[in-house]
Symmetry: D2
Subunit: 333 residues, 4 copies
């Protein structure tokens, strides 16, 4: 009962998903599609797959599932076509930069009765997932407050930023998903109030794009839980990915992962490693585990941990934050 | 050139200041005043001082300075009288729960040309003060973002809370001072925008008082710097006092202090101490150092690190936060 | 230029090496050999290899290299046969429990001019390897003292222990290799003096076997460097693998690896993860990296980081420690 | 029932003890004695005491106790005279560099029926004392192994070293006391076997003195418990004072104390404080607590935590270690 899979996108994230899928027992990576022929060819060769095209993939009856790791503006179309062709879908976040279009994707997927998982890989990070499990078990009582620190080591190229939808949709979408996953999902709570403040502190060029590099978002849920998210496009010390949940009986503190456990003591003090360099390193295990989860759920029929509805919900928060940061006024839901 | 001092207040905080002052070379604690006769007598006896009254203290030409550690609603009156009597003043925070009355105090002090220091002891905490020094030295570049975590081990009695002025004036006033000290004072920046959200999550009785136990405050400065403050009246793991400053070249992370450096490893994991129990322990060194600073400045004529203007400024932020949390709207300055 | 490989041993360690080798680009795992037919079959099936026998493997001209992960008492014979057949060899430690037989292996390998690497996987652990690199670079000056803490989570079955050669040959052989690698290999220094003390503290049954469960070994090198190794067969908190090197300019401290970076704070204190459970988890990366190194060296012709001579040298130290612990007297070299 | 006290020695350690004693309620520091008149005078003035001489002190009926913080070669004589005069004694370690003379002191003290406490301040360090308490409570089961790391930031002047009795008597005497306190005192266990190895690695001049700067000592107790002590006169990163006790149910790990809890994250990694600078800082609390203990025991009649017998026992181990390091042979008791 091997699952045959095609991967769309042979760029940075597509290669990760392709390699992780190909390494799974019971999964055969058959096709790799990418308009950049060299990328597609080298990835296919490395993993024993063949280069193909979307048309051929969707027409191929042997293909069970597709993994969408191509640029954001292709997601919506590929989801619609995959759903129409009856293929199960793993799609890298976001569903689409437009919430209405993302909602349309959700509808198409439901109508076609295919399974669709959205790649919020943080939910599979071993540290974060352990925190979630302890919350569910009640180890620290009822969740009350969440503080998320999320900083990139440096801004992507201006070209990328122009098409990114802005920092809230591009970067904080993960943080909004963490908010929903950690602070809300235990008992169906949801965001009731959001206020975002944002600045351009690292690169004045961002102002011209109407974008920001530094943000401070606060959310309050219907039950009065509070969440603060602070982000920056530039942390000189590397990729900073932490969160802390205060519960009625304690605190869960998720720290950064480091390449080694070496500490150097010398005349200048004690020195440890910077955090793992960037998302490919920091979330290497998470990327493996999310693809494993995708195929395990296909096999078992269990629901995914992250659905297209989660994708839509996170984008709605990103839209609200964008609006709030621009107006200087909170948004109520 | 010994300084003769009188202390007002023989309660918890008054005893700390009295003992720290009495232990300083060049300082003689002459009088202790407290309406509770037993408290005054026991403190005076322990430190070799005499029980007295405000009238007698202010009339005593030999007294150089007074330390005000009595209840908040006595501060304003004592400051005015001390100023009128030409005594230098160390006053525990806050100046007064009313900003206009606090401003009046500032005026009185200036008019009388006496020195007046307000007890924001966190500025003297060894960890926090080292962070400040590194910021000033530029060790992590220009400050961009500040995240303050400030949680008490448990709420004070309802009686206390009723007279406290609310969580923003009672508890966050310290955090607002930290915001100004760490994020603004380097180059005269000031708060431009504040948004506060707050909830009652630990004790429904607080709602009846119109107060909160959990807050999430965001401030943006004129230069676009961002600050997030999260507080709770109840942290099951003890007194949590941390902040982190992101600079253009790095991060300064101030952790909690712990009673010992013992770690136990056993079948359940690794176990370290909780943070120092509460403010008397956590800030023991800070309380010593701030009184030392007070008398050193009296001696040298150098300005205080925390003035009555700082007290007023912090209270204005506390007022704005109170208003914002009630209205659900940000406040602009 | 794919290398064809056969693996001997389909037990715990054989499976690790087989899977790691099979996952490498440029390596084809052709054969798996194990007298336990089921083990061989399941491993071969999982990795797309075939079950075979030593005779067939050594006779197969297409086989370039063998990986020996079978029981210790088979190592010597397999090394001799592999050398005679002109196959390159990766052999799990130890070469052989008898130093003379291990020396014979070294001779056979040299005579046949095949490459032979011994599996001291700790040299490939990211934390330990980074320490080694900093030492070589002089980051903490000249190495002066090494303290090794090496504790298993629990003793293996009595059956295993009987054939193990005793704790010094079975367990400390890794620590002796670390001693040589970290403290000696920078400038050709070697052990000059060794004193071992050992006890039975966890299980009296070990006394009947003439073995120990707790040891304290000290080594002094010709240049006067000092090394202390402490080991136990039982650490209630799990697998404890640390070392610290004191240099003339600082200290390098290698800590345990943990499954997650989660810390729980509650009324009982702060709680972190135990170390990674046992060697398969703790050294997962090291096992991958050492097999990668083996094949990279075969490809490039570069020398191995761990040779059969290292295997012999570590065993000599293990023999000396066994003698010293029994006699209560030091051994000089 | 105030205790009147005289302090001998107004040098570094004498000043510490004098100030700590003077600050205690119920203790009056009456006299300070030191052949260096200026030192005696400045210390006496700072603490409100008077300069005196040993003759006058011993003749003064009002003096209850003496604190001996003068050079080591004066201890024995002062102990004998204090005992003869019926004064209780707090004496800085060591009792005397000669074990027979130290034994004589113990006899004199017992004969005179005065109380005599020896200043092994580490037993009062909050971290170490908490470890001891947990051991006694059985939190980590039965103690099995102790690893002590004890390193000075730099060697004292050659002049001091000449009269020091060598590294084992001068520096490791504290570590030998820790060994006895942590590993033996729970059930009357004692050292049965000791092996010491030592080198000159930091300063060749030490060889000329017949002394060492780096040592590695192993002890085995009658019950088979093992202890390893590693020391150096020079740790480039400061004063390193740690120990770890392995118990049948876990590990107690005592870390260094640091001046602040600040961690700086930047492009070079994470950076924390070096350990507290040297013994005056690291053991500031311990010095306060041991003097408090001394006077509390005088008051209550309870036995001291560290007696002259402990002083003698530690010195015997120091003598044995000196002998072992020179001969290269272990010593059995």
């Amino acid at each position: 009962m091997t699952k045959n899979v095609a991967v769309f996108g042979a760029g940075r994230i597509g290669r990760i998903h392709a390699a992780n899928a190909a390494a799974l027992p019971g999964v055969t990576l058959k096709f790799v599609c990418d308009p950049v022929a060299d990328s597609a060819a080298s990835l296919a060769a490395a993993l024993g797959a063949q280069v193909s095209t979307p048309d051929a993939v969707f027409a191929d009856k042997s293909i069970d599932a597709v993994v969408i790791g191509s640029p954001t503006d292709t997601h919506s179309d590929l989801i619609h076509r995959a759903a129409a062709a009856g293929k199960h879908i793993f799609c890298e976040k976001p569903v689409d930069l437009s919430v209405p279009r993302a909602v349309e994707c959700a509808r198409a997927v439901a109508a076609a009765n295919v399974a669709c998982m959205i790649g919020f890989q943080r939910r599979f990070d071993p540290t974060f997932a352990e925190a979630k499990q302890r919350l569910q078990r009640g180890d620290v009582g009822a969740a009350e407050m969440l503080v998320v620190t999320s900083r990139d080591p440096g801004a992507p190229p201006a070209e990328y930023l122009k098409a990114s939808g802005g920092i809230f949709r591009d970067m904080l979408i993960h943080d909004f998903d963490v908010f929903r996953w950690i602070l809300c999902s235990g008992d169906g709570d949801e965001a009731a109030w959001l206020s975002a403040s944002a600045s351009v502190l690292t690169d004045p060029a961002l102002s011209a794009l109407g974008d920001f590099d530094s943000t401070a978002v606060t959310l309050r849920t219907r039950k009065g839980r509070l969440c603060q998210i602070n982000t920056s496009r530039r942390a000189a010390y590397g990729y900073d990915q932490r969160f802390e949940v205060l519960g009625s009986k304690g605190l869960l503190q998720c720290g950064n992962h480091r390449p080694t456990e070496l500490v150097q003591w010398d005349a200048q003090g004690l020195h440890g490693d910077k955090p793992e360099n960037f998302f490919l390193q920091r979330y290497a295990a998470a990327y493996r585990l999310e693809i494993t989860h995708f195929f395990e759920c296909l096999q078992s029929g269990q629901p995914f941990r992250t659905t297209v509805a989660d994708g839509v919900a996170a984008q709605k928060l990103a839209d609200a934050a964008t609006e709030s940061a621009r107006s200087g006024r909170p948004v109520e839901f």
